[in-house]
């Protein structure tokens, strides 16, 4: 690893956009949702049905038990989870280049982050 690389990447000589830290956090939440869904689906399906004797299959409203619990119940739960996930964990962020000013970007404007001020390490705008 080259030290000069580290120095360049650690550079804080420009003002970071604090909205990106929020976005990264939300991306991790989405990955966690996917991972949780996958683990629950695989564990239940394989736990009930993996390498079993077909004779022992039990049925719930017409579906094999393992499919009922994963394909209907787990899928149903994970259809509802995102509502709460987004309500409680996601931040409403202005997507325009300069937040709070609408699409038309003026040059003399002050930087301002709507509602999410100072999240995620804004550093001083260096060399100007």
């Amino acid at each position: 690893m080259k030290p000069e690389t580290d120095r360049l990447l650690a550079t804080e000589d420009f003002e970071h956009d604090p909205r990106y830290a929020i976005s990264l956090r939300e991306a991790w939440i989405c990955v966690a949702y996917w991972a949780a869904f996958t683990v629950v689906m695989v564990v239940i399906a394989w736990g009930i049905a993996g390498n079993r004797d077909p004779e022992q299959t039990t049925y719930i409203i017409g579906f094999p038990e393992w499919f009922f619990y994963t394909g209907i119940v787990v899928v149903g739960i994970f259809c509802i989870v995102p509502f709460f996930m987004i309500k409680f964990l996601f931040t409403d962020v202005d997507l325009e280049p300069r937040p709070g000013q609408g699409p038309a970007v003026g040059d003399s404007a002050q930087p301002q982050v709507g509602g999410t001020h100072d999240v995620g390490g804004t550093s001083e705008g260096g060399r100007s």
Binding site: M1, T5, L8, L9, T11, F14, E15, H16, D17, R19, Y20, I22, S23, L24, E26, A27, I29, C30, V31, Y33, W34, F37, T38, M41, V42, A45, W46, A49, G50, N51, R52, D53, P54, E55, T57, Y59, I61, G62, P64, W66, F67, T70, G71, I72, V75, F78, C79, P82, F83, M85, I86, F90, D92, V93, L95, P97, R98, P111, G125, R127
Partner: protein, 499 residues
Amino acid sequence: MRWDIAAPIIILLGAMAPIAYYAYSKSKGAADQTGNYYLGGRSLGPWVLIFTVLASAASAGTFIGTAGLTYSQGYGWVWGALMQMPSAILALGLLGKKYAIVARKLNLLTFTDFFKERYESRAVTFFTAVGMVIFLVAYMVAQFVGGARVLQSITGIPYWALVVVFAGMVALYTSFGGFLAAAFTDAAQGIIMFLGGIALWVVVLTAVGGFTAVEEGTQALEGDLVVLPGASGFDLPMMISYAIMFGLLLAALPHVSVRAMSYRDSAALHTALYVGPAILAVFTLGFGAMGVFGRVLYPEAELADLVLPTLIVDQLPGPVAGAILAAPLAAVMSTVDSMILVVSGALVRDLYVGFIKPDMPDHQQYRAGTWVSLGIGLIVLIGALQPPDFLQYLILFAIGGLEAGLFVPLIVGLYWKRGNALGAVLSLVGGMGYFLLASNFFDVLAFGMMPVAPAAAFALALYVAAGYVGPPPSRRVLVKFWGTQDAIDRMETEEAVRF
């Protein structure tokens, strides 16, 4: 010929013309014509957004393929198809608000624009654009071939007529209407798919005689249709592969991920995120699980892919059957229209403007985009009339290869400062190469999984290694992708002074 079935299909799909015209008249006269043509001016609200994402992602495979595989190999396939349920959350959530903000700041319009700015490497731009063009064109041809064959066998309308009408209509409305036409028709098609999925359950359950009858019928089936891995072959590595391939990596498919820079605001994104999984679950369960019901009703069908269409036609009066059968066709159309625009953008913006004529003015790009889209649509139409023999090999490679190559440089590059051009080239070439070798020549490389999963892991390893070994991204890139708009402006002023 069954005109009673064909008529509602033609009417429903003909309704796309006025929708496309509405979109066209809406985007006409906008200031930034190219931006409007390829991204609809970043104006999508939540419902159009979610349906265009899901309808673009869900192809004929979801509607015909899954039911066919379920019919012949059992419940494992419905389970596997359900693994695509989180795909809306991944496609929109992984790229997330940062992608939308960066796209606005740097005026990114096409899938490759991101790669161009982030890696500042002509090799990366070139590989991404060319790879997309080849594989997506092949994939579009296959979509029409699949859709038209099914419809031909059901309605008796000649194959060539179906291809000319459907492919021709998609080519016309997409090329002249641009992104908004594609998005609005996607929404209409998505609603057809959604209602079709629900109607099918109600109708088929009634026809079979309710859940108890299904249960009795299912119990009478061969045992390996209802267990894991059973006939479907869904063992643990296969299950995890499907979660990765249809869930996680789908976020990197170009025609899906451009939609992540098309929405209006955070509120549109949030709504799309939480309604997405439920809608995709209806698509998948609605049509996929019918494979089992089909097995109960028709234990001895010759062609598994035709069981679901046959079931629909047998159990329902002609016009209703036609309306439900419009769903798989809508899936084909909504996938293809998105792909045409992505490929057109790659040809015009990324290859022609990028490499040959950098100073092409906005209205010329817009006009070129229209004609190139029309040209692509026609090439696909001709390809579908005479499917070339090598087509199936390209298809096999198309989605997996693109996912394996593009995911890491797109998603990791967006958030990880160290990600550099060397890593992007290595993971593009390495990911696709590994996928090709593992799927065609060396089975051991796949470790018992679908080859795309280890290929993506290999691409990630290359990308991370190159991030530590190779030269870091320039300060320019860091400011553009991590700085505020003011920092970017300041940097550009400094550069202007220096030179």
